[in-house]
């Protein structure tokens, strides 16, 4: 089935976190978000509690999906990057390994050129992690955590 789930493990998440942290430093960006194409945030660096990362992730994914739709219509192979320039903060988005969106929010403390350069390196590193993750997910049996979920557990979720 197409809607195979994505699974994230401790080890890979910490690698992803490291890439995000490193990218934030190297590019002198404000915030890095790593978002799944369906709009769920996987990791971030430098996102303060005032930043609504959930909403941001969903909108970024919607944006990338819409742009992907445009690309398809004009028979362009997927656009891999997008850039929105603001007065104070700009956004750079890159599609990584066709399933992950790397988002960089940056201000005047850096340049678009530097961001692009660093993003390139980070994308390659991320690609590598997600490739390995896919292999691992396919070869690792799921812990039977879900097998143990009872109807009562599910009902309890709604009892408040």
């Amino acid at each position: 089935m197409l809607n195979a789930q994505m699974v994230m493990y401790e080890e890979e998440l910490s690698e992803i976190q490291e890439i995000a942290d490193q990218l934030q430093q190297d590019s002198r960006a404000r915030t890095i978000l790593i978002v799944d194409k369906n709009g769920q945030m996987i990791a971030n660096a430098g996102a303060g509690s005032d930043l609504d990362t959930t909403s941001l992730s969903s909108l970024v994914a919607g944006n990338v999906a819409a742009t992907g739709g445009i690309a398809k219509l004009i028979e362009e192979e997927e656009f891999t990057g997008q850039f929105h320039e603001g007065k104070d903060i700009s956004v750079h988005m890159t599609l990584v390994a066709r399933r992950i969106i790397l988002v960089v929010l940056f201000d005047k403390g850096t340049t678009h050129g530097l961001v692009r350069l660093r993003v390139k390196k980070a994308s390659e590193a991320l690609s590598d992690v997600f490739d390995r993750l896919a292999v691992k997910q396919a070869s690792t049996p799921q812990p039977d955590l879900f097998a143990e979920i009872t109807d009562a557990d599910i009902d309890n979720l709604f009892n408040d």
Binding site: V7, Y9, D52, A65, P141, I149, F158
Partner: protein, 195 residues
């Protein structure tokens, strides 16, 4: 596509409310939003036209609590119902874990319901999904209106496979949580079966 994060101990699932224009999809989400504790919800985002018609999607993130130490998060989306927004609807269906079809019970919306349901089936197939294999519920909305078609008739046309279905009045909230619970339950049950 559910996202299971063993590291953060989270389960993330995507639910999509589908149906013809003005059937009450956005109203469902608004009611859920208004009735959910602040700490269990994020912001509701509506990408709408100036006349409040959904342009791209509405989005509402919900945290339902924990199952076996895993936080369960549901991302609720609605699609724009108008026929000409088909390309956007396809995008929103990507990665869906469960679908709620919201039907407009009014007699004059019967055609629109049928058309939208066909469109749902078709758009899912195009992406390699089978509606009959997905967690799926049907909601007959606007039961409060005098021109509402009897439920038996709606069921015959819009729910031939007999999935769980609910009568609702989304403006007062009747049936709204029953519908959501039934869908969430199916999605979690699917996870349990899965793999």
């Amino acid at each position: 596509m559910s996202f299971i994060n063993y590291s953060a101990r989270e389960i993330n699932c995507k639910l999509v409310y589908y149906g013809p224009g003005l059937c009450g999809k956005t109203t469902n989400l608004q009611f859920i939003y208004n009735k959910t504790r602040p700490d269990a919800k994020g912001k509701m985002i509506s990408l709408a036209t100036e006349t409040e018609r959904t342009l791209f999607f509405d989005f509402l993130p919900l945290s339902l609590g924990e199952i076996r130490g895993f936080k369960t998060r549901f991302h609720l989306y609605t699609v724009p119902g108008q026929v000409f927004y088909d390309a956007s609807r396809k995008l929103i269906l990507k990665g869906v874990d469960g679908v709620c079809f919201v039907a407009d019970s009014q007699l004059e919306r019967m055609e629109a319901n049928i058309e939208s349901l066909d469109n749902l089936r078709f758009n899912l197939q195009e992406q390699g999904y089978e509606l009959d294999k997905l967690p799926y519920v049907v909601q007959y909305n606007k039961r409060d209106l005098p021109n509402a078609v009897p439920v038996e008739e709606l069921r015959e046309v819009l729910n031939p496979t007999g999935v769980p279905d609910y009568e609702a009045c989304a403006v007062t909230g009747e049936g709204v949580f029953d519908t959501l619970k039934a869908l969430a339950k199916q999605v979690l049950t699917e996870l349990r079966k899965g793999q």
